[in-house]
């Protein structure tokens, strides 16, 4: 027992090492939040372009670009994308690492979000489109007032899943020498030579974050579901 307390002291209290975890968590949350935002915006945009193309046959070139984007992003590992952007695209530019990470994870997430949202749009009954159009709404108005609210509600659980994945995927930020939560655990290990405790602390913090996230999503879902069905 004393040994455990000793180890805890060494890993987290001594030299205020807990501050490493705290600032690491801050970096992780910062990247996740902004990447989420970028991913959702990109994802909805791509989904709307692609489903509009499927339904109306318009936007051919844009649709092809969007398809290329999802193919490349989904076909390569996020670590590779992250390093390509950092060491390749922005190699000769002095740019904040947070920005690079947000860009990489946002671009990555957007591809998955787009497929989730697209499936939600395609699942809405064609009759809903027709009812909207027959009242005199344009395609865009029909999407905005009638289709998207229903699609969003349907894909919320899948989107939540994607957000949870995103939060954990940022743990590879260490590859471009960012001190995120995972990296913070690593730094502590390299100082204290404790094999497990820092890692367990890191794991527990991720778990708590995901738990909070899940609760928030469940709340949102319930509020949206309250109305119909």
């Amino acid at each position: 027992m004393n040994g455990l307390i000793d180890e805890f002291y060494r890993n987290f209290i001594n030299e205020s090492r807990w501050k490493l975890l705290l600032s690491g968590l801050g970096v992780t949350l910062e990247i996740t939040a902004f990447a989420l935002l970028l991913g959702v915006v990109l994802g909805f945009f791509v989904a709307i372009v692609r489903s509009a193309h499927d339904k109306t046959g318009k936007l051919g070139i844009l649709n092809r670009l969007c398809t290329l984007y999802t193919t490349v992003i989904r076909g390569t590992p996020v670590v590779v994308q992250l390093m390509l952007i950092y060491y390749g695209v922005f190699a000769s530019v002095n740019i904040s690492k947070v920005l690079v990470a947000v860009l990489a994870f946002g671009l990555n997430s957007g591809a998955y979000v787009s497929e989730i949202v697209r499936s939600g749009i395609m699942a809405i009954d064609e009759g809903q489109f027709e009812a909207g159009r027959s009242l005199g709404f344009s395609y865009a108005q029909t999407m905005w007032y009638i289709v998207m609210p229903q699609a969003f509600k349907n894909v919320l659980p899948a989107l939540g899943n994607e957000f949870i994945t995103l939060l954990k995927e940022t743990s590879v930020s260490g590859y471009i020498a960012m001190e995120d939560l995972t990296k913070a655990g690593d730094i502590i290990r390299s100082r204290t030579f404790s094999p497990f405790m820092p890692l367990i602390a890191v794991a527990v913090i991720y778990l708590i974050m995901v738990g909070i996230f899940t609760r928030l999503l469940a709340l949102m879902e319930r509020r949206l579901r309250n109305s119909e069905r």
Binding site: G127, Q150, S227, R229
Partner: protein, 259 residues
């Protein structure tokens, strides 16, 4: 005044030689001719009932009138405007053509009241208070005012279809299109929907109705049209149409449905 003169003499909807083919330009697919040159004039106050066997093109024809189905050839002139002209904004004309579907297509994420006011508020830029008052008035007329705050899933099929009809009416259309409005209903709910349609017809609303309800056609129609293989084979007043059919295929069809 000139416009009024045109309205009086020319039909509300003038359809000329309408053609619709499916599967053209697609390899390995047989081209299907859904409409083979259909012409029709619908005048103000007409109640045109279109009947025919399934696959006869009657639904395709009705859905072409507001371009939910885009014809491959022919002409549709609505209130003097050729709406198939590419430069015409069809959304504007659809506001004047109410449509009722077989499967109601109410918006499930909105209350009944919101279903009714969405179009008037967003498209006609009506003041929300005014739109709601008008919607409540319409709901009162179909006896569903107490369901204004309910969601579509809480209504019966017959109630849903009556709501779908008043949703279209809330836009103040010049013509109402009905695409098999009672086909998805349980038998005991067909009556309430047909009754509402009869009231509508009596009020002078111009209507085009695709249906299998021969009783409705006989009682309410000013003209009955029989379609098969994408063509109009016979049309006439309900009296001559049902009592003295001339076309052999119409006779065969009537002998099957009028048992």
């Amino acid at each position: 005044m000139n416009a009024d003169f045109v309205m009086e003499t020319s039909p509300l909807i003038h359809v000329e030689d309408l053609v619709k083919t499916f599967g053209e330009n697609e390899k390995g697919k047989k081209t299907i001719h859904a409409l083979n040159g259909v012409s029709m004039d619908i005048r103000k106050g007409d109640v045109v009932v279109i009947i025919g066997p399934s696959g006869s093109g009657k639904s395709t024809f009705l859905r072409s009138l507001n371009l939910l189905e885009v014809p491959t050839g022919g002409k549709i002139v609505f209130e003097g405007t050729d709406i198939m002209d590419r430069s015409v904004n069809v959304d504007q004309y659809r506001q004047k053509m109410g449509m009722v579907f077989q499967h109601f297509n109410l918006f499930p994420h909105m209350t009944i009241l919101r279903n009714l006011t969405l179009g008037p508020i967003k498209l006609q830029k009506k003041d929300p208070k005014t739109a709601e008052a008008e919607a409540m008035d319409l709901l009162g007329r179909v006896g569903l005012a107490d369901r204004a705050g309910a969601y579509p899933s809480q209504l019966s099929g017959g109630q849903k279809q009556r709501i779908a009809i008043v949703r279209a009416l809330a836009m103040n259309p010049d013509v109402m299109l009905f695409d098999e409005p009672t086909s998805a209903l349980d038998p005991e709910m067909v009556g309430e929907v047909l009754d509402l349609m009869k009231v509508l017809a009596k009020s002078g609303m111009t209507m085009a109705v695709v249906t299998h309800e021969m009783g409705f056609a006989r009682e309410v129609a000013t003209r009955v049209v029989f379609m098969e293989e994408g063509r109009i084979l016979e049309e006439g007043t309900p009296d001559t149409f049902f009592s003295h059919p001339k076309d052999e295929r119409l006779k065969a069809f009537l002998s099957k449905v009028l048992v």
